[in-house]
């Protein structure tokens, strides 16, 4: 193949790894978009205004983080001091894409191409194609270890301000790689690390209070909140946790409830 199809598509995004990442300003829409716009933005990807709870399980947490918590914007998406948000649960990224589009990381027009050959927006995100996306995910159990390494790397470079956030699903915690990361981060007191667990009771084998107990046993600070309550989420996300990593378990409707 001598030319990539993406470069031939009209009105489509830059294809190189960092082109379009906000060293250059990227004001992609006139009026700021809010949480109430997410259903419309998500419908651009799926053609359906109404989504199942599973498809939106992450929406509130992702929105509150980007809207109220993370020091991150299109203009600072490459800044060494930015907060990092790693979407480990890469499956079902519509709410994430919608949030990034609403916040101006890339044009809303990109959403319509979701999953298409010429689109940078796959059903699992690719960090080299989408501005603002910190990791390429899809295979479960990779985000937490990558987040631990990112937190260690920032600390080694004396970048002590940035927080590192990783979002995982409750079923994703079945993967053993997470537990390598959870134990290490807890035991070494990696205070800049934050994990949001979206708990929609989708794990096949787990006791009802297993997730918070698991983090607590590894010396993490732990909060459990209603994953649809924005104020409660924000309060949990910003709770002090000196000398310990923080896990916020955000409970939403059961996937198969």
């Amino acid at each position: 193949m001598t030319t990539t199809p993406r470069t031939r598509a009209s009105g489509h995004p830059p294809t190189t790894a960092h082109a379009g990442r906000p060293n250059s300003p990227a004001p992609h829409q006139d009026a700021p978009l809010g949480f109430q716009d997410l259903p419309r933005l998500m419908s651009l990807m799926t053609g359906a205004e109404k989504h199942s709870p599973a498809a939106t399980s992450t929406a509130d947490a992702v929105w509150v983080l980007h809207d109220r918590v993370l020091r991150l914007s299109p203009d600072t998406a490459n800044h060494p001091e930015r907060d990092r948000f790693l979407l480990s649960k890469g499956h079902g990224p519509m709410a994430y894409y919608a949030t990034l589009a609403a916040k101006g990381f890339f044009p809303v027009e990109w959403l319509a191409g979701f999953g298409g050959y010429d689109s940078p927006l796959g059903h699992h995100p690719d960090r080299t194609l989408v501005p603002g996306v910190e990791i390429s995910s899809g295979s479960l159990g990779h985000g937490l270890p990558l987040a631990v390494g990112t937190a260690l790397g920032l600390r080694a470079q004396r970048l002590t301000d940035p927080a590192v956030w990783v979002l995982v699903g409750d079923a994703e915690l079945d993967e053993g790689s997470n537990h390598e990361a959870i134990d290490f981060a807890g035991a070494t007191g990696l205070g800049s690390l934050h994990t949001v667990v979206i708990d929609n009771s989708s794990a096949t084998h787990r006791s009802s209070n297993g997730i918070p107990e698991r983090f607590r046993a590894a010396d993490w600070a732990v909060r459990t909140v209603d994953g649809r309550d924005h104020d409660a989420l924000c309060e949990a996300f910003t709770a002090p946790h000196p000398g310990r990593p923080l896990a916020v378990v955000a409970r939403v409707e059961p996937k198969n409830g």
């Binding site: 080299t128 270890p145 390494g149 260690l152 790397g153 470079q157 390598e180 290490f184």
Partner: protein, 347 residues
């Protein structure tokens, strides 16, 4: 002389002092050697415990944050166990790191098959963009390590207890292109071209002492130096090539085929047999069992009797019985009608 692995510990500890972007990640194995470096640089020498998936994931995260991570453990736990992490946490992220392995094929055979990884280079071959160094001497290992630590890219440095008696001049050329193959001997037109990889050089040269052959030396096998191989057979209507690799037999066979796409050729690939030997002992005995010895080297002596060489016969490779020198001669003299199982005849 120190071992490659001891040299790695010494040099990496020194590099940590001057290079603030450099970090070392370990999973217990090798951590003792870095005690002093960890005291000086507690934030850049990280021992994650016996957690190899985390070892590679942390390496990926460090790289994403702007560091140059060096990950070290035995090859079986660095490449085989966390293989998907290599694929995704480094490759797919577009992240770069240096992997330094020890105990590659059978450096510690008393440890058994769980501690052997003859397929490591073949596995990395399924991934994009890895530079693979297989040094044959601690001095070579040092040159390649320094380049890898200070440079970029995804680099696999395969350290071994097996060494050649003298170091070769390895590493990148002045223009920065990765180290190509060295031409150590030039045979007559029609003589086989033998590519010896890393620690296989001494045995290869010993085997070819009285044999007309061109000998290329590869301490860097990926990228494969297509040009050097083509140059070695330039002007020939057909070519005989012998690959001598210290890991899984035939690992570079496809690369030879690519290089000689337009040259009718036969290939004899020598290396570690895929069959489990189920033997302990010393690495020298395993070298012999896999047929990777030169008849004039002393390695043959302790395995000279049939009884002691029992393990040899459990390997199917005909090269085991022939030895390298016979193999090289066969490559040169075998006609197209003679059945030589290890030779691939290209019409």
């Amino acid at each position: 002389m120190d071992t490659m692995r001891e040299r790695f510990t010494t040099i990496t500890s020194q590099l940590l002092d001057g290079q603030t972007r450099l970090a070392v990640v370990l999973a217990e194995i090798g951590a003792d050697g870095f005690t002093e470096a960890a005291r000086r640089h507690p934030e850049r020498v990280v021992n994650v415990g016996i957690r190899e998936q985390l070892l590679v994931g942390v390496g990926g995260g460090l790289a994403l944050s702007g560091m140059r991570p060096i990950l070290h453990t035995f090859a079986s736990f660095l490449v085989e166990r966390p293989f998907e992490q290599l694929k995704l946490d480094l490759g797919h992220q577009g992240a770069e790191a240096v992997l330094v392995s020890a105990n590659g094929s059978y450096d510690w055979p008393a440890g058994g098959y769980t501690h052997m990884a003859p397929g490591d280079v073949a596995l990395l071959d399924t991934l994009e963009g890895w530079t693979v160094h297989v040094p044959g001497h601690p001095d070579e290992a040092e040159v390649l390590l320094r380049e890898a630590a200070l440079g970029g890219g995804r680099v696999y440095l395969r350290l071994s207890n097996q060494t050649n008696s003298v170091p070769q001049k390895v590493g990148s050329s002045r223009d920065g292109t990765p180290g190509g193959f060295l031409t150590l001997r030039t045979g007559s037109a029609g003589a086989p071209v033998v590519v010896a990889v890393g620690p296989m050089l001494d045995a290869t040269l010993a085997a070819l002492e009285d044999t007309d052959a061109t000998v290329l030396y590869a301490a860097t096998v990926r990228p494969f130096d297509h040009r050097a191989l083509r140059r070695a057979v330039e002007g020939r209507a057909s070519a005989d090539v012998v690959l001598v690799e210290p890991y899984l037999r035939g690992t570079s066979a496809a690369r030879v085929a690519e290089a000689l796409e337009t040259v009718p050729h036969r290939l004899l690939a020598l290396g570690t047999a895929p069959e489990e030997l189920r033997r302990y002992g010393e690495w020298e005995e395993h070298v012999a069992a896999h047929g990777l010895f030169g008849p004039r080297t002393t390695l043959r002596a302790p395995l000279g009797t049939r009884r002691q060489a029992r393990g040899v016969h459990r390997c199917r490779s005909t090269t085991v019985r022939r030895g390298l020198i016979d193999a090289a001669c066969s490559a040169r003299t075998a006609g197209p009608t003679r059945r030589v199982p290890d030779l691939v005849t290209v019409p």
